[in-house]
Subunit: 450 residues, 2 copies
Amino acid sequence: MSIVKPRTLSGFMELLPGKQAQFERMVEILRRTYGSYGFAALDTPVIEDAQILLAKGGGETEKQIYRFTKGDSDLALRFDLTVPLAKYVALHCNDLAFPFRRFQISKVYRGERAQRGRFREFYQADIDIIGDGQLDILNEAEIPAIIYKVFRGFGLTRFQIRVNNRKILNGFYAMLSLSEKSGEIMRTVDKLDKIGADKVRVCLTDDCGLTAAQADDILKFMAITGSNAQVVAALEGYAGRNEMFDQGLSELKAVTANLAAFGVPEANFAVDLTIARGLDYYTGTVYETTLLDHPEIGSVCSGGRYDDLAGYYIEKKLPGVGISIGLTRLFYVLDEQGLINPELPSAPADVLVLPMGDCAAAISLAEELRTSGLRVQLYAEQKKFKQKMAYADKLGVPFAVLLGEDEIAEGKCSVKNMRTGQQIKCTAAEAAAHIQATLNANAGAIILEK
Amino acid sequence: MSIVKPRTLSGFMELLPGKQAQFERMVEILRRTYGSYGFAALDTPVIEDAQILLAKGGGETEKQIYRFTKGDSDLALRFDLTVPLAKYVALHCNDLAFPFRRFQISKVYRGERAQRGRFREFYQADIDIIGDGQLDILNEAEIPAIIYKVFRGFGLTRFQIRVNNRKILNGFYAMLSLSEKSGEIMRTVDKLDKIGADKVRVCLTDDCGLTAAQADDILKFMAITGSNAQVVAALEGYAGRNEMFDQGLSELKAVTANLAAFGVPEANFAVDLTIARGLDYYTGTVYETTLLDHPEIGSVCSGGRYDDLAGYYIEKKLPGVGISIGLTRLFYVLDEQGLINPELPSAPADVLVLPMGDCAAAISLAEELRTSGLRVQLYAEQKKFKQKMAYADKLGVPFAVLLGEDEIAEGKCSVKNMRTGQQIKCTAAEAAAHIQATLNANAGAIILEK
């Protein structure tokens, strides 16, 4: 038989079982947390009609998209979860209750140039709340509260959800009579973290054609920092000059005030006027989330408020607010930096049952341990003891349970802690309790901070 | 803005939230059950190198496959989970512990002609156990035992796992000197259920060119039925004439004997000599699973033993045994027949908290209920009471919790059971306990039998 050399495409993450278990644990936290806030799980097709997926058209997206024909169908793989959501809501709007809250944790596809840490297939973990015609500002405070819960669920404390409002930015640029250049300016200001204020000033004057005074005004505005109360107080100084600015400020105040009510500590959120988010469709509150000890990772969770989700598909006005975690990249970066807690069990089983004599007894024992909630693998191969233990080692199971004729005669089994080497002889019920207790004691954060 | 009419491609399942919740519940049972037997969760890319995916080449598969180019890459979407598993194991074999047990519940793609109940994107829920060089027969008994657990987990009792062994069939055809025609004969015999013995006899003589005596021998063999002990006894009558037959019979006896040890009642499994499974690569035990009251659905879970998983990719001999559930089709058929239990909660939340006064109090209450393990949505919109209740109705939440100024003053909340209309006033802790108790009492089978 001729051999085809096996490989996985570059830009596609394929994990070994232990790493996959770590990844699944993060997904589980997301699923449980999103679910606990009453978001419906959604699952849309990976393939959509290309015309529908590209209704918005143009730009970088179109170049990156996986698009192909099958028969006479023009097809494409989804490149995010927002466009399919828009289609879904437009298509099923009569069957949905609004506000419609959904989460989706699914793969999306972008044929980017392959490079380290960039993926062509990657998971996004999204939540969105869609209103019919209107949507209360309270939702814009709840979204970051949920994200706070997610990151705490990962075991993190040193993270910050940064909040801004596009209306404040747009209103501010209107004050300076720079509305038409606001997009360009925002893209420039977005580089503040990377290139610093001096270079941004040069870009603003030379590339954007602003006067030195305008550039200074912008940099002074962007330099507003401090506690949330201090930032809001500084912003009050600009109030009364532009309606949109005032509305944005009022929204920002509502969001920050309610974030506290939602139990998000002030240490975990901050108003940051430099955040604009690239996407055109954000119209109000915008979010970014950074790991304080790892700013180089950039935003690990971003989103915001939009006024018109599905305008390409229906006349109905559907405002919403949502946020997205680029899960594959987040996992990759955390793993690269050694921040995924290696102490948490990543073996496929909690217990490996090793029959040393009668198989039927081992089958029953495995089943009894399973009934108590443990994940139990029965080792069925006829091998020497040493090989059996070597398998248990390679698998990384925390416990091996040995069942020989002696144990069977006594109605007991031998439980070996693979980490400590300690071995005890006890009944199946005692074994289950002992193993469960040891596993519980080993629980810890999924992501380490260091 | 020009409107693009939204649609979902034909042959792609896209569920409304309530149905999706039912689907997710089945996935959860699968994941938990597979996990409890020590199978590692795996997640391979949807897109693979077409040369690798089609290493086996030819046949119906190639016509159905979604294949396309991106840049100069020849790509294809996976059409099952077995070929990607073969690639995975071949690629990572040095990092895996053998026997390697994995489960994968993922979408696969086949561009079949669209027809009712046929899907182009569908979930398969697979388990496989892969050995390095050899794999004990006990694994072939464990696989159906796990499937038994899964279907019991769905709430079913009226199902049957049917077992056969390809060596028995191949050995039997060798006895009749029909080895070269065995593939053709098996495909014909496979139609017994559909077209009956008389028509199969005609096909065997006219199409396959068998003598009348050979056709009779085959039909007599295929007609062996009865209890598993009776079938095995009848098969013993053929023993001693062909080595492969004898080996198959010995394996079949081992599998049926151990199935009992694994706790599978005799009512839920049967030896069925008519089962051959179309795929060439099965070499020993084969399985099909039928819902006894719905034979028209056909096999809902099939698989078997194979001797060489990854021969297209490496020289290493990797025998295995696996089984696959076509989850999307199963769900579709069950739903069509009204067999998905509508009494189980399918709303995205257990509780909708309706603030009637101070929002901060409602936010805290929602969080307190969440802490007790409930899925809680806070209703944030400024609407009239009637509209709020209409939303709760449309959402289908089992409970609404109302919090007005009166309740806040008393330190209580009003809990309304949306199904019975009953309303009680109590503390948050009491509300959580009351709601949880009512939800627990409503637990039942996921799939109905009727």
